[in-house]
Symmetry: C2
Subunit: 215 residues, 2 copies
Amino acid sequence: MLREEILRSAEALLVETGTEDALTLRAVAARVAVTTPSVYRHFADKDALVEAVCLRVWDELGARMSESAAAVEDPWRALGRCGRVYAHFALDYPIQYRLLMMRPTAGRLPTASTACFGYVVDAVTACTNSGILRGDPEILTVGLWSALHGLVSLLITQPDFPWPDDLDALIEHTVRMAGFGSALACRLPRDNNANSAEFAAELDTLADRLTIVKP
Amino acid sequence: MLREEILRSAEALLVETGTEDALTLRAVAARVAVTTPSVYRHFADKDALVEAVCLRVWDELGARMSESAAAVEDPWRALGRCGRVYAHFALDYPIQYRLLMMRPTAGRLPTASTACFGYVVDAVTACTNSGILRGDPEILTVGLWSALHGLVSLLITQPDFPWPDDLDALIEHTVRMAGFGSALACRLPRDNNANSAEFAAELDTLADRLTIVKP
DNA sequence: TGTACATCAGTGAACGCGCGTTCACTGATGTAC
DNA sequence: TGTACATCAGTGAACGCGCGTTCACTGATGTAC
């Protein structure tokens, strides 16, 4: 029960201060109105506390993604929804996201994070099964994940950058870029010698003929 | 002269220890074989030191990108080279990259980092001028940047993830995904009601006709 | 050429701080007889 | 029903540590007369 309170306070501290530096045992304990050593009754040490905080965040993210993906029939659309949910989750909980994805080192949280990754791999596999994507689902997933993670982590860590006003449009653009790019890249040969003007002209005529489903 | 030595030692410390936590005034001073307060003769405080270290890294990255982009005629290929150079720079200097791009807060380094961003915007603008890309170059740049930054920052911060062996292939896939995706996304309507099976079939027939230049 | 002086990079000792962690303890709770 | 006891969450005080930073200082260097 106190354990729950400690975890909630730790998250609240992150949110209120906006930095993980504020996540100290002393601050957490003070916030629960308890002495510092009490925390050790519930967590082996500071790392254990941080790990527990992360676990909750992963769980929440995983729940949102699988829930959102399950709500749509078409695998291509479902994949797009995964991406949007992911981005919005990150922007809704920037410090937690930072804690999850940008901490210095290694060897942690294999189960929870790979579960999340697994959801996306499943969504991608559904797309390779349906024929819209081709190739190794894991590599495709890494590409998609990179695009979305890159966008939100830039937004989070570079708040002073002159971002456009409409963040949703930026997310939308990134989702479309990643989706269309994956679908096209897996269909094109890796090397050739045409020039970019020819490519542009061909893409133009092709785009006219396409009837697209929004990813 | 000592200032130079301090900066070089700071970078060496980062590289050797693999973590920015090791970048303390005491450690830097000790490495130059000088007492700690001496550092204050050359840097106002610790932040100033860190900022100076970052500046050098930005300069190096900017030099590499503009140099590499200038070496190619075709704007589309030049853009692709920018992406590859960026990714390889990050993987060559992972801790420095982390220092540049993943530090908690704000209000820093406007000139150097926006110079780098500017190089890419220029490369993208060349592509919109040539017709291979369309739309706001800054938004296009953010998308491309997101994909590459996402990939390398995942590789750097999640070393324990079961990455595929061939990292170059992963970079290649991401560059292609981002490039093709940008080119296709800017040509397709944002909303429509076709389903993904139709989309897949059309992409297939269209891909057969395409003669592509590698981005 | 020789002396007096200003400059300033580097020194050595110390400061206060917040941190994670430890230790022996207290005091309420629930169970066994 | 009443007493003795074990359990264990939470306490209070203290530890050692490394950090950024400060201060008055020293001693070599170069310049002015």
